[in-house]
Amino acid sequence: MRKIISILAVIAAGALTSVNLAFAVFTIEIDEGVVRGIPIAIVPFGGDAADQFLRSADRIISDDLTRTGRFDPIGEDQHLSKPTSAEEIRFVDWQLIKADYVLIGRVESVEDRVGNFRIITRLYDSFEQKQVFGVQFIATADQMRVIAHRIANAVFENITGQKSSFESRIVYTTTIPNGASGAAEHVLYVADYDGFGPQVVLRSEYPILSPSWSPDSTQIAYSELRSSGARIYIQTVATGERFEIDTPQGHNSAPSWSPDGQRLAFANLTGGNSDVYIYSLKDNKITRVTNHRLIDTEPSWSPDGKHIVFTSNRGKDPQIYQALARRDAATKRVTLDGRSNTAAQYSPSGDRMVVITDQGRGSQVGIFDFKSRGIQVISSTTLDDSAKFSPHGDMLIHVVEGKDRYIKILSPDGRVQTRIPVADGLVKQVDWEKSPQ
């Protein structure tokens, strides 16, 4: 008993002393940062094989990072040193030019089964003066772009904590006014997200409309516009094989895959009417979702597969409406702002939608926020069409119509807008792969 008391006394005494000695640590609240790209220096890669491989790697990496709006690469002309290995790094050089991060790399020739180049790359935090990551690849020369995108992805993921879409593909349609036969030719291309490596998937005498990637990235659905009406096809990218789906009479267009890949929403036009339907790929059954005498078109699925948003002019101006993905669903209007809002697509996270909005300046890309219910215009052009989110929501893509037609990639806040090259002809519509390999 006496012991316990004495122990208690010791504890009490100890507690009192510690209270007397400690003082409250000063705290400063930081709640308003600046919105801009993170300054990063991407040093051209060194090593004995740098010239044969990855000559433009720093350029590819820099472009990837810039397009997201999250990074602001510092030009090579401002670099004070050109390190290519860990020993050559002098952090003060990078602190001086205010580069938060520095990426360096080397390319060496090796004898390996997998490839004859070894690429070693390291990212440094120049203010904490430590390495963020270091990776190495063994590759062949033709894998150059893939490796560069992969390095950019590693940088993006390590710094932002989010995944990038640098290794994804896009599909787009073009019209060549005077094709091989002299008549107009319509082409469906698949390319890297940045427009490189375009591959022809389909050449057609008929206009190709609304290409849509299947969720597993193996197939593309689209419609072909014939004088007898539009027809929906599903084509396997790898083989080029395609089949027409069994749709009702009239124009059938605007195919959109359900997230589980089992169903296809589309619009059917008969008489002056246009409604949204669902086609089941499992049993070829068709379900009518909307039934309105005016236009209902451009269906798009919510990420959970429960809802479909579509464009309707039932309220005079075309606006976005939402319905449950089932027969004769009740509909409710979603967008309220602007002269018109059309062609909605959910963001991968489902909390936003990208729309083509007319706020009085023409057709522009807008982001609708389900929480605030407001629309933020993010494009600077005014003849925009076919706007889509990247698979990870880190970028958006859209077509600019008018005299000079092209594809543009936007950062989600619209701060960065970059044009990407198009293979041939006048570009019309674009879609971004949903699950990159």
């Binding site: 516009l225 004088s227 008489g271 002056g272 451009e298 059309t342 083509i356």
Partner: protein, 182 residues
């Protein structure tokens, strides 16, 4: 402060009354003028088409004649994001319909188009709406629906390439084709 606020409210209300009173008085004249520009708008659209034709070096004689034969018009034009058929367009349709009624064996083909503004799928639906509107006027003027085919090409087949109001006006159209056209 409160009193002045109320006073201000009364003033606003009185102004509203004045505006409201003036509106119905103007009503008749505005109704009358609403019809007039419509025809003028269509005329100008026709004129634009002529000018385009001139540029293309096709037909200059059409420019000489004051009175145009409606049957020379192979298309009717629409306002932006509209499928409503104007009175002038109705006249053109009537002229074609009269010929068709006299020649029962001839079939009629209607193709709806839109300008490049707005999304492609919406424009496909809009072209369809336009073709259907024109079709219903043909039926009203005595052409049997079985003789009419109506399709839409959306914005896929523009009549004129160009990203300006003149080009767009010419692309918002329903093309009328049948064997009896000159």
């Amino acid at each position: 402060m409160l009193a002045s606020g109320r006073l201000f409210g009364v003033i606003i209300f009185l102004m509203f009354i004045l505006v409201g009173c003036s509106k119905p008085m103007d009503g008749d004249s505005s109704d009358a003028s609403a019809d007039a520009p419509d025809t003028e708008a269509s005329d100008s659209a026709g004129a634009e088409e002529d000018s385009v034709l001139v540029e293309m070096g096709l037909d200059e004689s059409a420019d000489e004649s004051d009175e145009m034969n409606p049957l020379d018009q192979g298309a009717v034009y629409f306002d932006y994001d509209e499928a409503t058929v104007s009175e002038q367009a109705q006249e053109i349709i009537r002229a074609h319909a009269e010929v068709l009624v006299q020649n029962p064996g001839v079939t009629l083909h209607l193709a709806g188009h839109a300008d490049e503004r707005g999304t492609r799928e919406y424009n496909l639906a809009l072209g369809n709406e336009r073709a259907t509107s024109v079709s219903s006027f043909f039926q009203q003027f005595g052409v049997d629906s079985s003789r009419i085919t109506a399709v839409s090409f959306g914005e896929e087949v523009p009549a004129v390439m160009g990203a300006d109001e003149e080009s767009w006006a010419l692309n918002r159209r329903v093309e009328i084709t049948h064997d009896l056209m000159q």
